[in-house]
Symmetry: C2
Subunit: 271 residues, 2 copies
């Protein structure tokens, strides 16, 4: 089910600036039995995005109510909130009066085999690199062509994600997940202040495991990691089994973070 500005609808104006320019933000939020354990973090990131793009932040209670409404018949689901600067005249100049478009929609939770949590997934090393744009880094905006291009680089169903670097040879993330590497026993996750998205699952892990380092992570260093794994608010904590021909084995850090993920309220067994 889907609500557009509170009304049941599955369409938006073809003049919406979300379509014309990608002028907006989104969040994908996992719900488990009416609960969304990372809801507050998603709201914080959405508010940060609104501040950066100078969009009015929607009322949180209203978003929660709409989430309940669209997910009413589902036990587990992914909520997508899309927020745009609304309909505008042709041209980049923001409308004098902004009436944002708010889309709230529920999608089935993707079914991941349990073996992925146990054994991990395989990554393609993407050739597409992320551009440095500090004004847009960290937030989850609607300009996602880099991710689309990176994800289009492979179609082998045995490969679950892609490893994406910046233009300086630093590892940044997967196409739709953050990344952690264990280097000399210390969990490291790449800084996302020039490119990449500051994931909420990543934020939850950084809070729970304060010895994690946030810094630039050169690709060569990531390849020597003792553990490599992904964090995603939808898919959770996923060990990386291999990046191309370089293989990894799950270790104690990823297992601890998986345990924390489960403790937050996200089962890793699929229904």
């Amino acid at each position: 089910m889907m609500l557009v500005n509170g009304q049941p609808s599955e369409s938006i104006s073809a003049l919406d600036r979300g379509l014309s320019y990608g002028d907006g933000l989104f969040e994908t939020i996992r719900f488990e039995r009416d609960a969304a354990p990372l809801w507050n973090r998603h709201m914080q990131r959405l508010a940060l995005g609104c501040e950066r793009l100078r969009l009015p932040m929607p009322n949180r209670a209203l978003l929660w109510q709409e989430a309940q409404q669209v997910g009413a018949t589902l036990l587990r689901f992914v909520l997508r909130i899309t927020l745009t600067r609304g309909v505008g005249e042709r041209g980049y100049a923001p409308p004098a009066v902004v009436v944002p478009t708010r889309i709230v929609a529920a999608f089935p939770l993707p079914a991941l085999p349990e073996s992925l949590y146990a054994d991990g997934i395989r990554l393609h090393r993407c050739q597409t690199t992320l551009a440095d744009q500090p004004l847009l880094a960290g937030i989850k905006h609607l300009n996602r062509l880099e991710q689309v291009l990176a994800r289009a680089e492979w179609n082998d169903p045995a490969i679950g994600e892609g490893l994406v670097c910046d233009r300086h040879g630093n590892v940044i993330s997967a196409t739709a997940a953050n990344l952690f590497a264990v280097i000399d026993g210390v969990p490291v996750t790449p800084a996302v202040d020039r490119c990449g998205v500051a994931g909420v699952a990543r934020a939850a892990m950084l809070d729970a495991f304060p010895h994690c380092q946030v810094r630039d992570l050169p690709h060569d260093e990531a390849l020597r990691a003792s553990e490599l794994f992904l964090s995603s608010s939808v898919r959770g904590i996923l060990p990386v089994q291999a990046v191309g021909d370089t293989v990894y084995a799950p270790g104690p850090v990823v297992r601890a973070m998986q345990q924390h993920w489960r403790a937050l309220g996200f089962p890793m067994e699929q229904a």
Copy 2:
């Protein structure tokens, strides 16, 4: 009037990847009395964009026919063609079967006072800089947040455009137009192979004035230009009167290019 996949409509699916990820392209094409003098150049750029994003290029004859249809009652208008990868499941992976969305819409031609063509427009020096992304540079894709942020930097109606640089201090363009500077008597327009859009009016001028140079243009050099002017497929050739406190006067190069613009079939007098 507007056509979505050939049918009169003003809305698109809220699940369109054009909205979800900015996964698509657009063109804005000026029509004068049923003629679009730069049509072929717009089609060439759209085809290049399709190739880069691996989208099927729509049939050109069909686009022309739809343009005639939406502009039937208008003497002069701006046509916007928007092409997206269509509706897709949640996630960056392109759908197995792509059914693109094609939006063709006519808008009134913006009325520019003749004095702008005679005396020029004032530019704001934008703080927003463009990121280097060769995979997306040159084409007119739907990821336009950088332009939105740059254009949002001023709201003084006396300022008509913004001067936008890259992260290395090179001038690239205006927010919605290309830029030419006359340096030591030679017209120079910035290269757009790392960022920026390869404008069709710019391409028409480069063909007609083959002594133009296409190269990196450091900001300091642009400030010392004897002439500075913009090219836009909608607004034509516009002298720059000032960038902040630095003033410029129209000279022989901009006048020659304006003459060529008029000869292409674009009057600079407004009805």
